[in-house]
């Protein structure tokens, strides 16, 4: 259990650093090729931040509105409240607010910009179809997302994807219009300039895709981490494993889910088709791998 948590944390740090390095590489190429200097990067950062920050600050309200979630009181759902509060104590975070979606498809998500403004939402289907141990496992997973600031991390990743998209777009345009002062090129000589130009073009076309893939890889790694630390909270990985199996086997699609919110849910509510390429573009790891990881914890007994 501890090993999996540490490994997942390290892997996500590695992914984020790799992403940052990739962005710097892009910025450097951008500078060289268009001659705009750091101004381009700063502008892209500002635009991307502006587009994303509002979403981050109001992430809870926006997502809850899109998902038609309603706030519930302790009197309506005492068992849900007790479970959430208990796990919040175990995680050492303030207790999140509880919301419910009226849908028979079992699923859950957590959102909120930090642990103080956190929200956990479950479907009525989840409450009906899971037993106590499974429900605790699911809520523990969501609590871990809150504890590890995953909403913040995803927002940062999205901002970086935005920067990459903007910079590559501008680079491509600068080639098209033949613009940019290429003073440095004239000095260093023809060949190096041509190679750099080629690299620039390739990067400009591929970067948005690469950035997206990195962001999705980060998302999947954080899902593994949430599974592992959720199991830590309950000290019972089999509960979550059983819940995942049940949710995956449930054929019903979640009506309120769409591509914008799908990544938040514990199991991807859009029942996608399988396939190797699809795995790379998925926000969640395949359920079999998640269950296998949880079952390994039970045998390790650590």
């Amino acid at each position: 259990m501890y090993e999996q948590i540490t490994r997942n944390k390290l892997k996500s740090v590695f992914l984020v650093l790799f992403f940052v390095a990739f962005v710097f590489l892009l910025v450097w190429v951008f500078e060289e090729v268009t001659g705009w200097g750091k101004g381009g990067f700063v502008l892209a950062l500002i635009i991307s931040l502006a587009m994303t920050v509002g979403g981050y600050y109001y992430s809870d309200k926006i997502v809850l509105a899109i998902s038609h979630a309603r706030p519930v009181t302790r009197e309506e759902y005492p068992y849900l409240y007790h479970t959430v509060e208990g796990l919040a104590i175990a995680a050492g975070v303030p207790s999140p607010h509880c919301y419910v979606i009226d849908d028979t498809a079992p699923n859950a998500f957590a959102t909120g910009r930090n642990p103080k403004n956190a929200v956990i939402c479950v479907t009525t289907g989840l409450l009906q179809k899971m037993n106590r141990l499974e429900l605790e496992g699911v809520i523990a997973h969501e609590m871990s997302h809150i504890k590890y600031y995953d909403v913040l991390l995803q927002t940062v990743a999205v901002v970086m994807v935005g920067i990459v998209a903007l910079l590559s777009d501008w680079m491509l345009r600068s080639f098209w219009w033949g613009g940019g002062r290429r003073r440095s090129r004239e000095r260093s000589g023809g060949n190096a300039g041509a190679i750099l130009l080629l690299v620039g073009i390739v990067l400009a076309i591929l970067s948005p895709l690469i950035a997206q893939l990195i962001q999705l890889a980060i998302s999947r790694r954080r899902e593994f981490l949430a599974d592992a630390s959720g199991a830590m909270l309950t000290r019972y990985p089999a509960g979550l494993a059983s819940a995942l199996r049940k949710i995956a086997a449930d054929p019903e699609p979640l009506e309120v889910a769409n591509k914008a919110t799908a990544h938040l849910y514990i199991v991807n509510p859009l029942k996608n088709v399988g396939g190797k390429v699809n795995k790379l573009f998925s926000t969640h790891p395949p359920i079999e791998e998640r269950i296998a990881a949880l079952e390994k914890m039970s045998f390790d007994k650590t």
Binding site: H82, T83, E85
Partner: protein, 184 residues
């Protein structure tokens, strides 16, 4: 002259690192104390629920005086316990008394269906879970604190300033470790 400066810088850095380690030891110790206090919060919640529970049951089962007395006595003992040992013993007594109370309830089907009673039962069960989670969190904090005192280099600072390791919360009574036997 140059060597002297380098030496001073190194010493300065070491002192800064030492301060950092010392502070984090203080932080970890405070987290342990806080976690322990939080367990008390949940225990208090449990004590507060009990009078209500007893009153609700009394409304249907006036004659079961013995059970009510046992529960009330155990609760008073638990609230007034001074040492950890005393509290542990009182807690065990209280758990036993509550078990008897719920066993009595089995004989009164109207009581079992009573909304108030059901809510109290759920509250009590929730509080029991929270006590367990709070104790688990306390143990997690203790593990981090103790580990920090054992690993190098923080072990040096810990020993220098006489930090003491904390005890895990453990069950005193071996009987409490036995699996619960449910017989019909």
């Amino acid at each position: 002259m140059g060597g002297m400066v380098v030496l001073l810088i190194i010493i300065g850095l070491l002192i800064l690192i030492g301060i950092g380690i010392y502070n984090s030891l203080i932080v970890f110790r405070n987290r342990c104390d806080n976690a322990w206090a939080q367990v008390d919060v949940q225990l208090r919640r449990r004590y507060d629920l009990i009078p209500n529970l007893v009153e609700t049951v009394k409304g249907y089962a006036k004659h079961e005086r013995e059970v009510f007395e046992k529960v009330t006595e155990a609760r008073t003992k638990a609230i007034s316990a001074q040492t950890v040992k005393e509290q542990g013993e009182a807690e065990n007594m209280l758990t036993g008394a509550l078990k008897s109370l719920f066993a009595v309830v089995e004989n009164y089907p109207e009581l079992k269906a009573n909304q108030n009673f059901l809510m109290l039962q759920e509250e009590l069960a929730g509080t029991e879970s929270k006590i367990a989670y709070a104790r688990q969190f306390y143990n997690d904090m203790v593990m981090k604190f103790n580990m920090k005192q054992q690993v190098f280099p923080s072990s040096i600072i810990a020993r220098m300033f006489s930090f003491k390791e904390k005890d895990y919360f453990e069950i005193e009574e071996p009987a409490a470790r036995e699996p619960v036997k449910v017989s019909f």
